[in-house]
Symmetry: C2
Subunit: 280 residues, 2 copies
């Protein structure tokens, strides 16, 4: 067991753990960290590969992604931000601008948080989102189709390029994830279980398998570069065969590519690939 | 204006900002960071001055303090924690143990969060607390008595000792703050405005003054070592003269020292002392 899982096992005393967020009384509560040297590097900022505004915006998006994957609409956000004392007022404005753009784009309010001085830029965000019909990881049914949105692989490829000192496209999903809010909010009523793809398809399939106590029969082999690409923020979900066509039509309506990759069966699924996050 | 205030000014687009937490629909949402090199130092852990369990516990208490100062009872917590990869499973257990002790002591649930690997131990916590009668900073009335609980000064003195490489008492409030939950929940109905003392009495009085648009006439001079001691987590509040005796009786009931320091008047109050937080 890795340290992250060990710690979570130690601390989780709650029935609300185990999904992208905790659903209580109409609201979903989710929290994600976005730290320098863990999720991005200072040299990427210095080289102009990613701006502070884009970092702030992405730190919000990775949190909003959790809300969407649970079929919840973001209403409020709290931001804990640790900022180096070398940052200028212009830098602070750029960060604030990125946070506010996300709040505008997804129509929620920033209601508080904490600001401290630190040796590096570290952001933690809590999103409070609202839903009448939350979607969980534990609801995959036998014979469900397992699907995901979009195209996987670019985030890993671009992260690798960055770590090798290369440039990447300004439009890279690694800089600005594409969230599937409109598609998912409309399709959710036909969907049994869901989660976002943040650790990579293989690891996230393993989590889905464990939560739902189901295995998967794959329709074709998934390439390593597709299955091990983390920080994709596409949606992984399961749908009954009778609803598949409806979900497919909603995907077409919003121009979202739908990948139907497996069927749920008795059993369990384990990934043989480690977590993608790069280490210091 | 310091950078913290500048950033908060840039980002706050919400009527919910400006108190210890944001009150929405029966709940108070608050978030505080507790970072290595900002709120504690690694060498204090290495020297056995403060344990990982105590750090985790204090990181929760400073957040619970916000909830109490708004007359709200903690119900749920989310923890974003960044942990060095040198930490052993025993270290992780100690941290989890500290978080869980706080959840037990104050009867709330840890419902989620995020765990990542990092160069140092950095914790951010969101507390979701419940109240029927939130207390704000903006409600000081003319002629209100301005009071605070407990004895101020120890936190600053002990922090100074630690920064000079000296030991401090195991029972120091700097290691384990004394929260005034029972007193405040009972007294709150008689209280007009409140906040916790985290930045130091003088700075927090300035915030109270600004939020309520009132000045203060002090009954006697407050010493620098009292007024500039941060991280005290006592409660600063205002009360009408007709309720002062009732609040005083409740304080006596719970063995809480009550300091009546000023009267609220037209005007404003400004501290001439800077923020206490130590820098890298």
């Amino acid at each position: 067991m890795n340290k992250e899982d060990f710690f979570i096992n130690q601390i989780s005393n709650s029935k609300y753990n185990g999904d992208d967020g905790a659903f209580i009384d109409g609201y979903v509560y989710s929290m994600d960290a976005f730290f320098e040297n863990v999720h991005f590097k200072k040299e990427w900022i210095d080289k102009g590969i990613i701006s502070l505004k884009q970092i702030a915006y992405k730190s919000m998006l990775v949190n909003i992604s959790d809300a969407i994957a649970m079929n919840a609409k973001p209403k409020y956000a709290l931001i804990s931000i640790a900022i180096p004392n070398t940052y200028t007022n212009e830098d602070l404005k750029a960060l604030a601008c990125g946070f506010k753009k996300a709040a505008d784009d997804f129509d929620f309010e920033i209601i508080g948080g904490d600001t401290i001085e630190n040796s590096k830029l570290d952001i933690s965000i809590t999103i409070i989102s609202k839903t009448k019909e939350p979607k969980y990881r534990n609801s995959v049914q036998i014979d469900d189709y397992i699907c995901y949105t979009g195209k996987l692989g670019e985030s890993k490829k671009d992260l690798k390029a960055l770590l090798n000192g290369k440039k990447i496209k300004k439009t890279s999903k690694f800089i600005k994830p594409t969230l599937r809010a409109d598609f998912f909010y409309e399709a959710a009523k036909y969907i049994n279980a869901s989660m976002d793809i943040s650790d990579g398809l293989f690891l996230d399939l393993e989590k889905l398998s464990k939560a739902s106590n189901k295995g998967f029969i794959f329709f074709k082999e998934i390439k390593e570069e597709v299955g091990t690409s983390g920080e994709e923020y596409e949606i992984l979900f399961s749908v009954n065969s009778k609803n598949l066509k409806k979900v497919d039509n909603i995907a077409k309506k919003y121009g979202v590519k739908l990948n139907i990759i497996a069927k749920a069966v008795k059993g369990s699924y384990k990934s043989s690939f480690p977590n993608h996050h790069f280490k210091n």
